[in-house]
């Protein structure tokens, strides 16, 4: 009785919007619908065979019971029957493989693409580089930590939201060049039916042509370590005009960022900005309170580097430390972000060194 109670309680307590999706996403591309149809076709074939087999079995379970006086017969071999019930399902299922091959060949279409995007999997984030334009950014999980540790209510896109989504044009062939920086990841967007492993040292390709603009969410689908469940994929499909506008905005923003790097900042501005950068990029390992995890990730509070020479502090953030989990953040953070987080780490989390560094001094 107590089990049923907990079951009922659990179902009531989850937010109402959680839907009961039981089937595969039909998706928004011609290919994802083709795959959905293949999925339903093989599903119905299995259901038909299953109903036939289990029907006979349950019929004989009820009819041929000893308690009903059934007497067992003595035949125990009939190769013709066996050949029939082997060849027929084989033919049905092998016939199934022909349309599957057709779909697979469409998926391996190597015609020229309109947009080429390099997707690089990092330990626990994605990096998108537009080959034709000079756009290059990281896409981190943006679900606040409070929601993950249940200190605040979970928003509808819990764990499926990022700070910078990948933006692609609708009705255009977009080609993804997928690789990885450290371990094997896998880039998957269910509504595109695109899933390709990101393997370090090698490059894979996939493509998509999306018909309807919209936001489509997916996740990393190959175990890649601690935060494998926390590096989602969000793709924003815009109409061609909006996409062109977005590209222009990105380029303008890049210029502004360059300009900002030469600007002088006050200590408080740097610390304020540095806290945001710390929570997004460093808290994952060094923990929000800067204590780190003994034996795995060193603490920032009272760390020899964070309280020592400022150049060494900058160098370890810019170039990382070989052979350890400390990555080179040179390409992941702008000069302003690096200056801000260095100043923040030296004057917060229990450190009171008192010095600061300007973005112009950061030599990338």
């Amino acid at each position: 009785m107590s089990k049923a109670l907990t079951l009922a309680l659990s179902l009531l307590s989850t937010p109402a919007l959680a839907d009961w999706q039981v089937n595969m996403n039909k998706g928004v591309t011609a290919l994802s619908r083709e795959i959905f149809d293949l999925h339903m076709l093989i599903f119905w074939i299995c259901v038909v065979i299953g109903v036939a087999v289990f029907g006979v079995m349950f019929y004989s379970i009820f009819k041929h019971r000893k308690s009903k006086g059934a007497v067992a017969e003595h035949w125990h071999e009939n190769t013709t029957v066996e050949v029939v019930w082997t060849v027929i399902p084989s033919i049905i299922l092998i016939a199934m493989a022909v349309p599957a091959t057709a779909t697979l060949m469409d998926m391996y279409d190597t015609s020229e693409a309109d947009v080429d995007i390099q997707i690089t999997g990092y330990q626990w984030k994605w990096r998108y580089q537009y080959l034709d334009e000079d756009i290059d950014f990281f896409s981190n999980l943006s679900t606040p930590r409070e929601e993950i540790v249940n200190e605040s209510a979970k928003n509808p896109n819990y764990l499926l939201e990022v700070d910078n989504a990948l933006v692609i044009p609708a009705n255009k062939k977009v080609r993804f060049l997928i690789t990885a920086n450290d371990v094997i990841h896998s880039w998957w967007v269910p509504h595109f039916a695109v899933k390709k492993d990101a393997i370090p040292g090698f490059i894979n390709e996939a493509w998509v042509k999306v018909e309807e603009p919209g936001v489509y969410r997916g996740q990393c689908t190959e175990l890649c370590g601690k935060d494998h469940g926390f590096m989602p994929v969000v793709v924003e499909v815009k109409s061609e005009a909006d996409y062109a506008q977005w590209v222009a905005d990105q380029k303008a923003m890049k210029l502004a960022m360059a300009g900002e790097a030469s600007k002088e900042f006050s200590m408080d501005e740097l610390i304020a900005k540095g806290e945001g950068v710390y929570q997004a990029a460093c808290a994952g390992c060094h923990q929000p309170n800067g204590q780190g995890i003994p034996g795995a990730f060193p603490a920032i509070t009272g760390s020899a580097i964070a309280t020592g020479a400022i150049d060494a502090h900058i160098d370890i953030i810019v170039n990382g430390k070989t052979g350890t989990a400390m990555q080179a953040f040179k390409e992941q953070l702008s000069a302003v972000d690096i200056a801000a987080v260095v100043t923040y780490q030296r004057n917060a989390l229990g450190n009171t060194v008192g010095d600061m560094v300007q973005p112009s001094a950061i030599q990338k």
């Binding site: 390099q118 690789t179 450290d182 990382g320 052979g323 080179a328």
Partner: protein, 193 residues
Amino acid sequence: MAEQNETKTNRLVVRLATAAIAMFGFGFALVPLYDVFCDITGLNGKNFSQGPAEVTSVDRSRTVKVQFVTVNPADMPWDFKPTVRSMRVHPGEDKHTTFYAKNSTAEWMVAQAVPSVTPSEAAPYLHKVNCFCFDRQPLDAGTDTEMPLLFVVDPELPEHISTITLSYALYDLTDDQKVTQVTLDNDKGRASL
């Protein structure tokens, strides 16, 4: 009867044990077998072609788009990017491009690039006549360089392939170098094990 059974069992056990050891060896034999299989089918975008390709005619009627992509693995601080993002080539003609690399750290380092081609079907048709990825590339602190790549696309490239992407992952081999003190890899093959 028992002794005769004894020897039969012992003979069988010896045969089974050697089969097990043979399969252990087979596990290791899969490594070279895999490389041969990759070379033929271009599986996983690997291609080991180096040196001048026996390509005679230049097929002016067809152009193929060749893209260059670079990836820095986990702890590789160098700046590494192609000077030219992509180019259109005629199959059969030799083409040249360079890759820019800058060692922005404070020590001498040595690195090696690992090539990978997509679509993997095109891998056997992209001949690298001379490639910086054949050897290790040392760079002093703060210096930069332009590394050459001379390649030719084989005219027998299957019709349906119109774009080839050649990617390089630049790996830091400074520790290896210090540990093994191997002189620069002179057998011109891909990085030895």
